[in-house]
């Protein structure tokens, strides 16, 4: 294993992703040289665009890290622990991706440190920023603990004394930024479409980012199993999907109550752009997954995969609907992401993907599902699978 540890299988798709990321880095330099207005379609009427939309989604999906951690470390559902590890890794890469996008999104990147010395405690943006930074630190500690388990057991032993506190903190801090992302839009009650402009938004945001965790975990697990031709433990995934399904049902009821209380039923069923997008969001995020879960199809690999993908697509829609659909009437149609905005976003995702592939292939215990709770090096058994990797 030692000779192969630091290897990276090169495939045409990976070369393409490398190339896109390399071009993205050149675009970064160009953006820093000419400024924000020259390379984006952002304007005075439309100050937030594709980059913010991408960040909102990545953070929401990266909620998988904290929700799976809560399920496995707080509720001690040990059978999900391997999944929690993978979600921690994906979540960490996701947050790095967010920062990668943000450093070109902000107009005065040289002032990124100002909020630390000139804080405004009343700003939801401040809470988002501080919690993300704090969470990144906590994630690094968690990742070091996982990596040292095999590489430097003595270090890992020493870390055990602080890990309970780290776990608790890492399960608490994301509540802050996930909710605050929804709170950002509490500032625009007259601008955001009334279907979404609710005081409940922060709580609905944090709740949905929590129950999406199992969806992300299930999709990633099934995909990885396909990569390494490993057997899929559908029973385990089914019981995990139940956690999501129950919370989705609660979310569905809460969302309906929110719509009814604020008298938005008519707007939801107006069969216009905003109403239809809201219905689609609810359909994908709650109705479709719940129905799948209640039928025998929900116990099959295909059913579980559909469950997860539908939930993730629905979550993406909830965020995009707030950033774009719900704001469109006020902001107008004066924005379409520029080539550079789209390319750099794709480039960022390529980077995230390559890092994920590299880490999972070189630190096999990240994806080890069967038996790694026993301390058995799962990488050994899956080693042969490396060469058959699909990508």
């Amino acid at each position: 294993m030692s000779g192969k540890r630091w290897s990276f299988k090169i495939t045409p798709i990976r070369i393409a992703m490398f190339a896109i990321f390399a071009v993205t880095l050149v675009m970064y330099l160009y953006r820093y040289y000419v400024g924000l207005g020259a390379v984006t379609d952002l304007n005075d009427a439309y100050p937030w665009g594709a980059w913010i939309g991408a960040d909102m989604n990545v953070i929401a999906l990266a909620g998988a890290g904290f929700s799976m951690a809560i399920i496995s470390h707080i509720f001690h559902a040990h059978k999900y622990e391997p999944l929690a590890r993978r979600c921690l890794l994906m979540s960490f890469i996701g947050y790095v991706l967010v920062l990668l996008i943000l450093i070109i999104e902000i107009g005065r990147w040289d002032n990124f440190w100002r909020p630390f010395v000139s804080p405004n405690l009343h700003s939801p943006m401040f809470e988002v920023y501080m919690c993300i930074v704090a969470y990144l630190v906590l994630q690094v500690i968690e990742l070091v603990e996982v990596v040292t388990e095999k590489v430097a057991p003595k270090v890992q032993q020493k870390m055990q004394s602080i890990m309970p506190i780290v776990f608790i903190a890492a399960c608490t801090v994301p509540l802050g930024h996930q909710a605050s992302l929804g709170a950002l839009y509490l500032a625009m009650p007259a601008k955001l479409d009334a279907i979404w402009a609710s005081q409940m938004m922060p709580w609905l945001f944090v709740f949905s980012s929590f129950f999406i965790g199992p969806c992300v975990a299930i999709v990633e697990y099934i995909w990885t199993s396909a990569r390494y031709k490993m057997k899929v433990d559908t029973d385990m995934l089914y019981s995990l999907s139940r956690i999501s399904a129950v919370l989705m049902a609660i979310y569905f009821v809460a969302k309906c109550a929110d719509i009814v209380v604020r008298g938005q039923v008519g707007n939801v069923f107006a069969f216009n752009m905003t109403g239809n997008m809201f219905l689609l969001e609810m359909l994908l995020l709650t109705v479709v997954p719940i129905v799948i879960h209640l039928t025998p199809f929900g116990k099959t690999k295909g059913g579980l995969l559909t469950f997860g993908i539908s939930g993730m697509a629905g979550l993406v829609l909830t965020r995009l609907n707030v950033v774009f659909t719900g704001m469109a009437a006020h902001l107008g149609g004066g924005y379409f992401p520029s080539f550079l905005e789209i390319f750099t976003t794709v480039g960022g995702f390529c980077f995230a993907f390559l890092v994920y592939l590299y880490v999972t292939e070189n630190f096999p215990f990240f994806y080890g599902v069967a038996g790694d709770a026993e301390g058995k090096p799962v990488g050994e058994s899956a080693e042969s699978g490396f060469n058959q990797a699909i990508m």
Partner: protein, 273 residues
């Protein structure tokens, strides 16, 4: 969320029935702030008054010429636009690096030194006032500063000081508010509404008009609660969330951990991975 910094709240009462659309105020603004008449991005020459003129990073006030219908006839109305200088400003409360502050006179000031450029103020402003220097490599947010140095010296802002028709009346906000109500109650041509009295918690700039404000391009769906007040409905829960969250997780964690140990002890081995 009342701000204690503001001890001498000034304001301007705009009587839209008196404005003739000459644009003197926009010229005075450009001169006082040393701004050109070029559009910052297109670099084309432009007046700051006319039909469809808009605020930009180089134009802190405009006079918007509006053709509206009144009593069955088409009439022109001229609407001065600039930062409203909210009593409880959205920009100030959403800015995470405190780039905004209020002066004693209630002028909402922007300090580019602290700005990170997230542009949250732009999207959060109920009146869409802050504009960005998109053309610059190191851009800042730009908006009317209420001629704060003039206000501090007890003078009227540049725009109000040059108005030839007294459409812009400068003074203490509470006195102007009383005056506005006096005017609209004594003359039936006015719409019975002082715009800026209650919108998003009140603004330093107040408007009275003989044409409904909605037809003149004013946002009419603004709540009476200020934006900071609305956000505070959430932020006041911040520390409780962390406290309750951390305590709950710790409690649940200890409970489930103990339950597993008891389970293992009773069964002699753990049957769950």
């Amino acid at each position: 969320m009342a701000n204690s910094v503001v001890t001498n709240q000034k304001g301007v009462l705009v009587d839209l029935t008196k404005c003739v659309g000459c644009g003197s105020c926009t010229v005075a603004c450009k001169m006082w702030n040393n701004q050109s008449f070029q559009h910052p991005q297109t670099e084309e020459f432009q007046n700051a008054h006319g039909v469809d003129v808009e605020l930009d990073s180089n134009t802190w006030t405009t006079v918007d010429h509006k053709l509206v219908e009144k009593d069955g006839k088409e009439v022109w109305r001229f609407v001065k636009r600039q930062c409203m200088h909210c009593l409880d400003p959205a920009c100030l409360s959403v800015c995470f690096s405190h780039s905004f502050h209020q002066t004693n006179e209630g002028a909402v000031q922007y300090n580019p030194e602290l700005c990170v450029g997230c542009r949250y103020c732009m999207i959060a402003c109920p009146f869409d006032v802050p504009k960005y220097e998109w053309e610059k490599v190191m851009p800042s947010v730009m908006k009317c500063q209420f001629c704060s140095s003039k206000l501090a010296d007890g003078e009227a802002p540049a725009c109000a000081s040059v108005c030839p028709t007294d459409a812009l009346m400068f003074g203490n906000r509470d006195e102007l508010l009383a005056k506005a109500h006096e005017i609209i109650s004594s003359d039936s041509k006015y719409v019975n509404h002082v715009y800026g009295e209650k919108e998003v918690g009140g603004t330093s700039w107040l408007y009275i008009s003989d044409v409904p404000f909605g037809e003149l391009g004013f946002p009419t769906n603004l709540p009476e609660q200020s934006v900071p007040g609305n956000i505070h409905e959430f932020t006041r829960f911040t520390l409780p969330i962390f406290a309750v969250g951390a305590t709950a997780w710790a409690g649940i964690s200890m409970y489930t951990s103990r339950r597993h140990k008891v389970h293992e002890a009773e069964h002699g081995h753990h049957d769950e991975k």
